[in-house]
Symmetry: C2
Subunit: 456 residues, 2 copies
């Protein structure tokens, strides 16, 4: 292990230059004018994997952008890890807001600025540098590792699942490691221990055959917007409680230990209110704002419209109204079941003079880390050894589609070890990665494989 850490220490400038070379390739998956750049980034990565000594490095074609794969499978008796990452990046617009060009990496004030610096090229290269140091210093990895780096994460990974269904052997692993999340606070090593799922729907209320004159028919004609408002109000109270019968039935309550751990996280409600420009927060009073935004489910109208929305006044009774609805879900809620409950609730409450339909979108199940699993314990120890402090074990309120996909395809435990700064400007101008984190995270990753080998 010492030799590996020495090697990393000696390689810092070289590893940084490798990352800078990788960041110079504008591999924007969403923009067709960058199609060749995306392919070039895949080739660069394949070559890099070969160079550091990984075996079977290859670029797997898909219907979209290719997936880069390599492995180092030494001893089938040893545990096997799958390392997932992505080499594609978000578009860089608006360009005029960047202080230095997005694809000309610039180091200043201890940071490396470039599109993809944090999301996800920087975090991928931290891992690959650690693998390279192991192979150079020890000629081996402590456990078997598969590396799978895709090129479509920023456009929803449309080609990954078909590829993995066609090649299930690529997924054969005891656990999965992903570094594509942020630290809870600057310099605080963090494992993301949970993600919310999501249920997606659009409610559509209709009443009369056409919009009606409010003078001639007002008082007897049903108003579709009014009906939809009543239905929405009946789905959630101003106390933040969701009123859909059965909605909370499968929600797992946090244990006292978990709640104590959440309370110890550096989460500042006052600062949150200030940053949102609010005199008060909404939601369930008996949970902290952190809990409300991570381990509690939500009901949210993302958009709603009906009737006359132009300038001035039009005395019309709308015959139609629509609301886009998403629910964030927590273990053990199921998106399909939640939509069933919602549809039942709306149908039951809909008055006889109206009709309500629920169009269902694609959902995602919530995810929770297996805290007792050796891989998680290995990550905790590796981060603690590197940073001299216990990592934060923090659930996140968002959904990461790829986590849900890999969970669904493999059921394997996942370690979400995030190294991006919480203010890293991912998806925004002036994205950066901390140079100090680049140095230390490589060590944490190198230690992780050793710890994993010892724990299993």
């Amino acid at each position: 292990m010492t030799s590996v850490l020495e090697r990393l220490s000696a390689r810092y400038e070289d590893d940084l230059n490798d990352l800078i070379a990788f960041l110079r390739i504008p591999s924007v998956s969403a923009q067709s004018q960058h199609r060749d750049d995306v392919a070039r980034a895949a080739r660069w990565l394949e070559e890099y994997l070969r160079r550091i000594g990984m075996n079977h490095a290859r670029t797997l074609p898909t219907a979209g952008h290719p997936v880069v794969y390599a492995e180092w499978i030494d001893d089938p008796e040893k545990p096997t890890a799958l390392l997932y990452g992505h080499y594609d990046v978000q578009p860089a617009d608006p360009l005029e807001l960047w202080e230095t060009p997005p694809f000309e990496p610039d180091t200043r004030e201890g940071r490396l600025y470039a599109r993809g610096a944090s999301d996800d090229k920087g975090q991928v290269m931290v891992h690959l540098a650690a693998l390279g140091a192991w192979l150079a210093a020890e000629g081996r990895l402590p456990i078997n590792v598969r590396v799978l780096i895709e090129g479509e994460e920023e456009i929803g990974s449309p080609s990954l699942e078909p590829l993995l269904r066609a090649h299930p052997e690529l997924l054969r692993a005891d656990f999965i490691v992903i570094s594509d999340t942020t630290m809870f606070a600057e310099g605080l090593p963090t494992l993301c221990t949970g993600l919310r799922g999501i249920a997606v729907a659009e409610a559509h209320v209709t009443t009369a055959a056409s919009d009606l004159h409010s003078g001639l028919f007002g008082g007897a004609a049903p108003n579709a917007v009014q009906v939809l408002c009543e239905l929405i109000a009946a789905c959630k109270g101003s106390d933040g409680k969701i009123r859909i019968p059965g909605f909370y039935d499968r929600v797992v309550e946090p244990t006292p230990q978990e709640r104590a751990a959440y309370a110890a996280l550096p989460f500042d409600e006052q600062q949150l209110m200030k940053s949102l420009g609010l005199p008060a927060l909404a939601g369930e009073a008996e949970y902290t704002a952190f809990e409300r935004t991570t381990i509690r489910p939500t009901f949210e109208v993302n958009g709603m419209w009906g009737g006359f929305t132009g300038e001035g006044s039009k005395t019309v009774i709308p015959q139609e109204a629509r609301a886009k609805i998403t629910c964030r879900l927590v273990p053990d809620q199921d998106p399909e079941e939640i939509l069933e409950l919602l549809a039942d609730h709306l149908r039951r409450l809909c008055p006889p003079y109206a009709r309500v339909e629920l169009q269902r979108g694609a959902g995602a199940r919530p995810w929770k880390a297996s805290l007792e699993h050796p891989s998680t314990q290995a990550a905790i120890r590796a981060l603690e050894a590197t940073y001299g402090r216990r990592p934060a074990l923090a659930p996140s309120g968002g959904s990461i589609p790829i986590v849900e996909t890999l969970d669904r395809l493999t059921g394997a435990p996942m370690v979400l070890m995030g190294f991006a700064d919480p203010g890293c400007n991912a998806h925004a101008p002036n994205e950066f990665f901390s140079l100090e984190t680049f140095r230390t995270a490589r060590e944490a990753c190198a230690r992780f494989w050793q710890e994993a080998a010892e724990t299993f």
Copy 2:
């Protein structure tokens, strides 16, 4: 009186030809390309008034289209009536839906088809023909009459009130007669005995400083659309009851006699439901659908929007939502007071994490006919004598801005004697006026002046 009726009988063809000539002038007030046509219609009318023997016929210029005025003031001891009408018409679009061109009047199947046939040139000419017959047959009118025909009714009469404020003498009258409404059913003579007023507002809810990510903030961040839905649902129940405290305080309940009269009107709820494509109507169960749409006040969201309304899904928490609201009002509600009550209600219910503002539009007070007034009694007798049946005394649920304006400016009783067929296609293609009604309504109007003279 007999001589007047004989004169009308003899003049039928001539009167009809006068109306047809009037209808040939495309006096569309809303379209600038018809500006000269509107002026031509005013000159035609002035000339016609002079020809039938009215005095001081003149065209009064305004900032917009002119007002045509004439009078026959014989004896200052006699009562004076003001006859109001309008010579402008709605645009004729969509032209392709007219069976014959809108400004080439066509008689077929007992009807005269043309833009303005019912609204309002036909109803104006019915009155003027009656005045002409009186002056030709008797050399006098039984009472004093002022005639005021404007050219901007279809665009909201913007120039009329300034003109009348500058020339209050034009309004000096004991009562006002307007024929610009419909009959309750085909062939059923009708007095409109009430109109609802209106209060107009837009509610604007804001929460955080920007739209927020529903994964990161959902559960603690307030949702402006949700708040607005809760506020709207708190303004009206699914029982049709408006829940704004004080809203009903000034509402005058119908007397048992009035309710009996309404129940006797040929109003078919089943037919209404069928025409609206509804299995049930909305509203207050203890009132008939007729009452709910005429003598009961309403709360209506005319349009509402907030958040993401494009295609697909966007997991955003909206920071802003708006609803356009109108309330139809009945005696003795006051639009400003109602908006005050609404604003108070919304403020009181708005949670601490949101702000609500109410932008107020221009309203109108409700109007009720003075049934005991001699002018109303004269109209009832004139209609009964002409049609051999009691006229329907029916309130309407709409608002007629000019009635509200004249009521506000004069406080004088008004007779709303409508001759248009309920299916006359006013404002729509293939507008028509019944030829039989054209014949008989002239007689009713001629009798009306006689009855008015005898009643006062």
